[in-house]
């Protein structure tokens, strides 16, 4: 079915961000608060009793919340945070699985004008420490199951005053500074004064990995809702009666921009499934909740492909109306497969933590070119730039750097306390995405890869530097070089090349020990899925490990210029 909206060409021709401002009833200079817009405003529009969230956890636990419920929950959590002395601009970390408290706390934190710092709950203690330390986070909201990781690093985080636990811990087991908070037992707060946040007030701090240095905190503001609202409406094509499922975890930007802000700012019902991946469970979830719009990731889609076509036939998935994908390039086979088995093709989208909202997309109603990311969203000026001159390449099909003219509402405002890195992202007035693509003669973008060493595994960015640094903390590791290797499901996975210190012997047990060391320290995503022990690593004469050589070897590419390679 084609979109109900005007065509891509019409929307592009007449585009202005004031369309979103008007629909969200916002006048420049007004108070604007994402927490309020996603709950109170929807209630004011007569949808208080409409379901905002269907939640299903492992073992069939089910909960549901109306927009009035999430409004009250946001108020109640906000009031609790204020009662503890948490104030505007404080960073409050959400370190939880996808339980309702995660989504509801998100609203509560924003309502008091504090900054939400969502972190993936599978992060190990080192990953957690680096991000909490950098943000000088004042409070962490977490679950008992993740408490041990927080406790392990707590004494090294002097700015972390509060650890708030939302589930069952016996009060006698609490350590100083730990507080129990049960939403179910708290008195609902009906009337709550929303913090007078403005367009440029900070709202979110998402962390992203780079090639070098520690992860960077990407600062977003409340005005970002304009981009997230309009892209959700037009690209994900959400309508009032839709039942929407975004499979992303809010520890990552997709899970907040399109797993909370987008659907709720539109007053649309969304579903959350908080279990491990299983093709059967996913299909059953779509069938049970009659999901109409599904926003997922290529890794998941390829895993579903692997589970086979026959399984799809066991479920009634006829409710599906629109499918979209994000996180990494969606291969043409997956697009064609979804068209065959679901009767709907996935629409690929491209954007980043820094852009905050969808930048390039296969627009509903527009011809899908399988394997292409589509065209720029209306109002977005994009180009591929020559990597030397940083000027747009006019020639169709020629590869260059994906870049955008800054100015859309959800664009990051800076990297947290790292203005220098932020400025490096701009050249000649273009924001450099760090990805490469070409543009064909019809304006479709075709992804070609990263422009740096960052590893995109299963749609998540992993810094080789971070993994190399962590590897060096293992007693057996002398030197390390980290790159990616091809993977059928995740596109690429982490691979480590290691030299050992004297006295250690390479072998499968040591390999496993190192894998688990990184998994626990950083995250399962960062864990090398393969380790190769080497006598020496390729280095420049100045001693820098040449990841490029390791990468070329793994991917069967030309090594290129190795004139700076150290002679053994």
């Amino acid at each position: 079915m084609l979109s109900e909206h005007p065509s891509y060409e019409e929307l592009t021709r007449d585009f202005s961000w004031s369309i979103a401002e008007k629909e969200l009833e916002y006048t420049p200079g007004d108070i604007i608060n994402i927490g309020w817009h996603c709950s109170d405003r929807i209630c004011h529009k007569g949808k208080a009793d409409k379901i905002a969230l269907y939640y299903e956890g492992f073992g069939g636990t089910r909960k549901q919340y109306t927009f009035n419920d999430i409004r009250l929950a946001g108020n109640t959590i906000g009031a609790f945070l204020l009662s503890q002395g948490i104030a505007e601009s404080d960073r409050v970390c959400l370190f939880m699985d996808r339980i309702p408290e995660l989504y509801l706390s998100f609203l509560g934190i924003l309502k008091i004008g504090a900054i939400v710092q969502p972190l993936f709950s599978a992060f190990g203690d080192e990953s957690l420490f680096v991000r909490l330390d950098n943000a000088e986070t004042r409070a962490v909201i977490t679950q008992k199951k993740h408490l041990s990781k927080v406790r392990k690093i707590r004494s090294s985080l002097p700015k972390l005053e509060f650890v708030i636990i939302v589930d069952n811990v016996k009060p006698s087991e609490l350590e100083p500074g730990e507080i129990l908070f049960s939403l179910e037992n708290a008195e609902p707060v009906e009337k709550f004064e929303i913090a007078p946040t403005r367009a440029e007030t900070h709202s979110l701090l998402h962390y992203t990995s780079g090639t070098t240095g520690q992860p960077k905190g990407v600062k977003h503001v409340h005005y970002s809702i304009m981009s997230q609202y309009l892209t959700t409406k037009w690209v994900l094509d959400l309508r009032d009666d839709d039942i929407y499922w975004c499979t992303a975890d809010p520890g990552w930007v997709t899970g907040t921009s399109y797993g909370i802000i987008g659907p709720w700012s539109l007053g649309v019902t969304q579903c959350v499934l908080d279990t491990g991946f299983s093709a059967q469970a996913w299909y059953r979830f779509i069938e049970n909740y009659k999901i109409t719009v599904w926003y997922s990731a290529p890794t998941a889609i390829r895993s579903l492909m692997k589970a086979g076509d026959e399984l799809v036939k066991e479920f009634d998935l006829s409710s599906l109306r629109h499918l979209a994908s994000v996180g990494e390039p969606l291969n043409s086979e997956a697009v064609i497969w979804s068209g065959r088995v679901f009767g709907k093709q996935f629409h690929d989208t491209f954007w980043q933590t820094e852009t905050g909202s969808i930048m390039i997309t296969n627009f509903p109603g527009m011809k899908i070119k399988p394997g292409s990311m589509g065209k720029t969203f209306p109002g977005i000026t994009g180009a591929v730039l020559d990597p030397v001159t940083f000027t747009p390449i006019g020639e169709p099909g020629k590869a260059g750097l994906i870049a955008f003219r800054p100015g859309w509402p959800a664009m990051m405002r800076t990297y947290w306390r790292n203005e220098e890195k932020y400025r490096e992202k701009f050249v000649n007035g273009w924001y450099l995405s760090g990805d490469r693509s070409s543009i064909d003669n019809e304006g479709y973008y075709w992804f070609m890869g990263r422009d740096d060493d960052v590893i995109n595994t299963g749609g998540h960015l992993v810094s080789p530097f971070e993994v190399e640094s962590a590897l060096l903390e293992h007693p057996a590791v002398g030197e390390s070089g980290v790159t990616s290797k091809p993977d059928e499901i995740n596109m690429e996975v982490v691979k480590a090349f290691i030299t050992l210190k004297p006295g250690f012997t390479a072998g499968p047990d040591l390999e496993l020990e190192i894998m688990n060391f990184i998994r626990k320290k950083l995250s399962p995503l960062a864990m090398p899925q393969a380790i190769e022990f080497m006598d020496t690593l390729p280095k420049t004469r100045s001693g820098k490990i040449m990841r490029r050589v390791l990468h070329a070897r793994e991917w069967g590419e030309e090594i290129g210029d190795i004139s700076t390679l150290e002679n053994d």
Binding site: K144, G276, P508, E511, R519, P524, Q529
Partner: protein, 87 residues
């Protein structure tokens, strides 16, 4: 396989899963507890579990057989390992 050996294998795998993947001391893992579909072990971590099994039992499990379903409980894992023991 003899029952004693089977039980030893289950205990070995169960203890490894608890030690490596379960942070909360109060979580109970039985031989039937779903590991992957419950989210206790994610798909990335499954690779380290595979390496553990291959190292410990001196077997090679083909990638096509290392599925989330085959790793979804201690009992399933034992059944998988048994297919490749003595091959």
């Amino acid at each position: 396989m003899e029952e004693n050996n089977l039980n030893e294998m289950k205990e070995l795998i169960r203890n490894y899963v608890i030690k490596e993947y379960i942070d909360d001391d109060d979580t109970t893992i039985t031989d039937d507890t779903p590991l992957i579909s419950s989210g206790y072990v994610d798909s990335f971590s499954m690779v380290s579990l595979l390496v553990f099994l291959e190292n410990k039992f001196k077997i090679k499990i083909p990638p096509s057989k290392a599925t989330p379903e085959a790793f979804d409980s201690v009992n399933n894992i034992v059944a998988l390992v048994n297919q490749y023991l003595n091959k």
